[in-house]
């Protein structure tokens, strides 16, 4: 029987008097809270979808900014799944990103799918699958034996090894110079916008469904208290590897998108540590383990990036490091957490 102390009852009363909740109670009962959320989400999606009709996507810096946001959302959600939901610090997200980019580039150059040089969904899915499979292969031994910090080190090792492999890949990966892709087919920014948009939606949907499913519950249980979860019969390894693989998949398709944009793929551009930092930073800023947190973080970071590209190109990583420290120190739950804290206190 749930017993509410007097204090809890008083809190509930106070919450009910909060303006937001009063507003909600004004809405006719046929429209439930869920309906409201769906409407809001639909509106936002529609808004983004109509942007290209208002702005000349090719020349607008805003469109580029949005594209960046979309890319960032994808990789941020990747980190969100593995670290925010499953609580594992994976320090090879940039490796997965790079693998995705290389897969796209290689398959493209080899013209495997015979679609010519254009956005190819099959290619993109494959670019996500390759890192995901790698994640499963190394994830099983690593996650079954290594706890927390040591797992992080293990992933660092993966990062090392793979980067070295690609540098020394010889004719296959063309070493440090990397692969060059023909850029002549892409004249317009519009397909980038749309593909980015769709991928971002996909990434968000993935997280949304994980959040709502049993997998999400299991992951949260593992993150809170692994031993307790294990004693309840949660198959720890299975869920951790799953989260790791999903994180890899998302990073991979992010890499694929980036490959279509960059055309010159080499270890420095696609396996750069930034592709590890940024997702972490975004989730940390926005709120790890939430659906919207990484999205907020992504917009923030895209804004800073664009701003920074102009003024602080070199200072970038310093700011990232400083930001992470400050955010973790003062608001470890991110912006979302801040909102929660404001609304649940007196």
């Amino acid at each position: 029987m749930v017993k509410k102390s007097k204090k809890q009852k008083m809190k509930d009363e106070k919450l009910a008097k909060h303006p937001f909740n009063l507003l909600k109670s004004l809405i006719p009962t046929k429209l439930t809270r869920n309906h409201i959320y769906i409407i809001i989400v639909a509106l936002i999606v529609a808004a983004f979808a109509t942007v290209p009709s208002f702005i000349d996507v090719d020349t607008s810096y805003f469109a580029y900014f949005l594209f960046l946001c979309f890319l960032y959302i994808v990789i941020a959600q990747g980190w969100n799944v593995v670290a925010g939901y499953a609580g594992q610090i994976s320090l090879c997200q940039n490796t997965f990103f790079g693998l995705g980019a290389y897969t796209t580039a290689l398959l493209w150059l080899l013209d495997v799918t015979k679609t010519g040089y254009y956005f190819d969904p099959v290619l993109m899915v494959l670019s996500g699958l390759v890192p995901a499979i790698l994640a499963i292969i190394i994830g099983i031994p690593l996650l079954s034996r290594l706890r927390g910090d040591y797992f992080a080190i293990g992933t660092l090792g993966v990062q090392f090894s793979v980067t070295v492999l690609f540098l020394k890949g010889g004719a296959f990966t063309k070493g440090a110079d990397g692969l060059h892709l023909p850029s002549t087919v892409f004249q317009s920014m519009t397909p980038y916008y749309w593909t980015g948009f769709l991928l971002a939606l996909f990434a968000i949907a993935v997280v949304y469904f994980i959040n709502r499913s049993r997998i999400g519950l299991a992951l949260k249980a593992i993150r809170e208290d692994e031993t307790a979860a294990a004693s309840r019969g949660v198959h720890i390894l299975k869920y951790k590897v799953f989260a790791f693989a999903v994180g890899a998949f998302l990073a991979g398709i992010g890499g694929s998108l980036f490959a279509y944009y960059l055309f010159h793929i080499n270890p420095d551009s696609v396996m750069h540590l930034n592709w590890l930092f940024f997702p972490i930073l975004m989730c940390v800023l926005g709120g790890n383990g939430t659906i919207i947190g990484p999205i907020i973080g992504a917009f923030f970071l895209a804004a800073i990036s664009s701003f920074g590209d102009v003024y602080f190109a070199q200072m970038h990583p310093i700011f990232s490091g400083l930001l992470i420290i400050l955010v973790m120190k003062f608001m470890p739950t991110g912006i979302i957490g801040l909102k929660d804290r404001i609304f649940s206190r007196r």
Partner: protein, 243 residues
């Protein structure tokens, strides 16, 4: 009107969002043995943690000789002589017996009385003296429990809180343990005893409280509660004597 050494007044304690204690009040008379009994998970350890400052009570007050402990950190509470010997002994197994005892007397107030405290501990627990340089992890269960209590004594306690000292001990050792607790009390140490071994605890207690799912269900003198029907049925389990 005897002196109230410790007064807990209507505290609520939460672990995150889950409430563990509801409006709990107890009084600990100076020089007495107060027992806190109840089933597993009733909240007994939580109450001790609230008193020793490991957790903060969200509501209510905790007073030591009339002065509030509520906003103090564990160090300051230890400084005032409230010593918590936790459940499961929690010794430093890689440290020697002597090192464990030394750490027990860490706070300056206790450090100045180190030699005397050590003597007291050895007179109560002679076995520890012979094992003084042994690693705590290598001691037997009973010796470990003695060391845990000894470590608490090193802090010159005004109020000694023992969390399940008889746990995991053989019946003979359990008897010894309770005799020891009585002896400590005779040396003028006030004791707050948390126990699952309700019978033994109620036998030596002056006052007792029964904690049930986070609330005080019953309280009274030790011998009264021991004779109480409900308690006997629920916790002690009446055995039909076949003698």
């Amino acid at each position: 009107m005897a002196n109230q050494l410790l007064e807990v007044k209507g505290i609520d304690v939460f672990y995150g969002d889950a409430q563990a204690l509801w409006d709990v009040s107890i009084h600990v008379e100076e020089g007495a043995i107060i027992a806190l009994v109840g089933a597993n998970g009733a909240g007994k350890s939580t109450l001790l943690k609230a008193i020793s400052g490991l957790i903060h009570a969200r509501k209510g007050e905790i007073l030591l000789s009339g002065k509030s402990l509520s906003n103090l950190n564990p160090r300051e509470i230890v400084d005032r002589g409230v010593i918590h010997v936790p459940e499961g002994r929690r010794l430093f197994s890689t440290l020697t017996v002597l090192e464990n005892l030394k750490l027990g007397a860490y706070v300056p107030r206790a450090r100045s009385m180190f030699a005397e405290s050590l003597e007291r501990v050895f007179s109560l627990f002679p076995a520890l003296n012979t094992r003084i340089d042994q690693k705590a992890g290598s001691l037997s269960g009973g010796e470990q429990q003695m060391l845990a209590i000894g470590r608490g004594i090193m802090a010159q306690p005004k109020l000694l809180m023992l969390d399940e000292p008889s746990l995991g001990l053989s019946p003979i050792l359990v008897k010894t343990m309770f005799e020891l607790i009585s002896a400590l009390n005779e040396q003028k140490t006030t004791i707050l005893l948390v126990e699952q071994n309700i019978r033994q605890a109620l036998k030596i207690a002056h006052q007792a409280y029964v904690l049930k799912t986070g609330e005080i269900a019953m309280s009274g003198r030790g011998d009264e509660l021991l004779a109480n029907e409900e308690i006997r049925k629920a916790y002690i389990g009446e055995r039909v004597s076949k003698r």
